[in-house]
Symmetry: C2
């Protein structure tokens, strides 16, 4: 049998922050990637700038929605306290909620576990015209599942390939995929956990389980690195975002999304009817 | 057989704008309800105020989400060009998209039509902690379905009761239901359709079908009035919002939601563990 040819989806457009994009084929060593960089910005300046860029994002989303042909999938992964929730709030807070939907993947249900690991994911991929944000994702199945040895390596290792081919299928169908890894230092995680302890209004966010997870820090870093190494493709690249400074993280991510959407170049559609002589009674 | 007793859900909390709330048991004549009122406000003043109130909404949503016990369902209905999309964008644009989800109900699919009319609706009701916005809703099944005679009166007429009892069930389970009817005049609809014709960037929003629907204006007004008359309950009231002025509409709706959420009084949860001696390594 001849091997059928794989389709070649269009690459995700270039962005101003492609220094953070993981080059397909490269091997990622996370100790060599910045966590606290600020790109020469001061906090207030970056915050103001991010608001302006966010307005651009909102306008591009309107065109994407009106056009109804392409979609954007944003995958967010991070260690605990990495800032996924804050990123979603800040980056997408100004965008019309009618056009952006967040899917949070928690511990799988019994029904979900009765299927392959992509079953629940596929149900949440974006429709044409939509932006979908994944708060955690199918990558948990090569992260926590690997670190906690929930399945043996013979099961999780082939998933890198399965994921790449799944994402290829989405990309061929018109979905652009941007995958964001929020990269924080171990010290920054400590500070953020401490802040949750110190503020009674944040106690509900604190779990003793987080301290247990922290003991696996090195294992998680290795699992993240392997995920970044094996699953950054032209059509679904990973970006490693320095995320110790929330305001820099927000600015960079918003800009990446704006650049990608600009490259997707959505347009308000034409009306197929001749409207030149229409009179409204 | 004895008739079992119906549960009594808590009423939706009072709001500053309960003049627009349809009193259960009253008969609605829409010609007696304002469309162009502006409540003594000027445009710029109302817009600024709405932004402030929207910040309150965002903060209340965070508590609702953190608490994870109650949910809020906002149902939006209107004639074509009534402003549902603009309302969603303006009222919820500043709220964390992780906690608010919009469900748009379009023409039902074959699979949806193979079930009872509430089947697709029930799948979209909000989980605890969430705000869900319905852009159109189960009420289409007593509106367009009635006006276009898609089913006979013997089928659609009992739906008012079916809907009330469905909503009672949701309310008993912890969902507060706020139903918003955007009330515009026939002249305002004309102006809005004309604006879409005049601006090439809005042509995609214009459909010749909208002119056909406009011919049924009176029939729709009657169907709306009956819906408001039969389905405004203490636990799921209808509000008739003067919607000719978009900025007044936005302000009033945002305030209603803030007042309802305040009445729901969500709290950040306590942590059940003793955190007093926790040390982070």
């Amino acid at each position: 049998m001849n091997q059928p040819e794989a389709g070649t989806p269009p690459p995700v457009p270039e962005t101003e922050y492609d220094i953070y994009r993981v080059k397909p084929g490269s091997t990622v060593d996370l100790t060599k990637w910045q966590t606290s960089e600020k790109g020469g910005f001061e906090k207030d300046e970056a915050k103001q700038l991010q608001k302006d860029v966010r307005d651009e994002l909102a306008e591009l989303q309107r065109k994407l929605y009106a056009e109804g042909q392409q979609s954007l999938l944003v995958v967010l992964q991070a260690t605990d306290t990495g800032g996924k929730d804050g990123t979603i709030r800040n980056v997408f807070g100004g965008v019309n909620p009618q056009g952006v939907r967040v899917a949070s993947f928690k511990q799988p249900t019994d029904e979900e576990l009765a299927h392959d690991f992509l079953w629940r994911i596929h149900q949440e991929t974006p429709a044409r015209g939509m932006i979908r944000v994944f708060n955690r994702s199918h990558y948990e199945d090569v992260l926590i599942v690997r670190v906690k040895e929930i399945v043996p390596e013979s099961v999780w290792r082939p998933r890198y390939h399965t994921i790449n081919e799944f994402e290829r299928g989405l990309a061929l169908a018109g979905t652009r995929i941007v995958k964001i890894f929020l990269h924080i230092s171990k010290d920054e995680q400590k500070a953020r956990l401490q802040a949750r302890l110190d503020d009674p209004n944040k106690h509900w966010k604190f779990s003793l389980g987080d301290l247990k997870e922290r003991e696996y820090w090195e294992d998680y870093q290795q699992a993240f690195a392997d995920m970044l190494t094996h699953c950054s493709t032209d059509y679904a690249p990973w970006y490693v975002i320095p995320a110790d400074r929330k305001w820099y993280r927000n600015l960079v991510i918003t800009r990446i999304l704006v650049d990608v959407l600009k490259g997707m170049d959505p347009h308000y559609p034409q009306n197929e009817d001749d409207l030149s002589n229409v009179v409204i009674e």
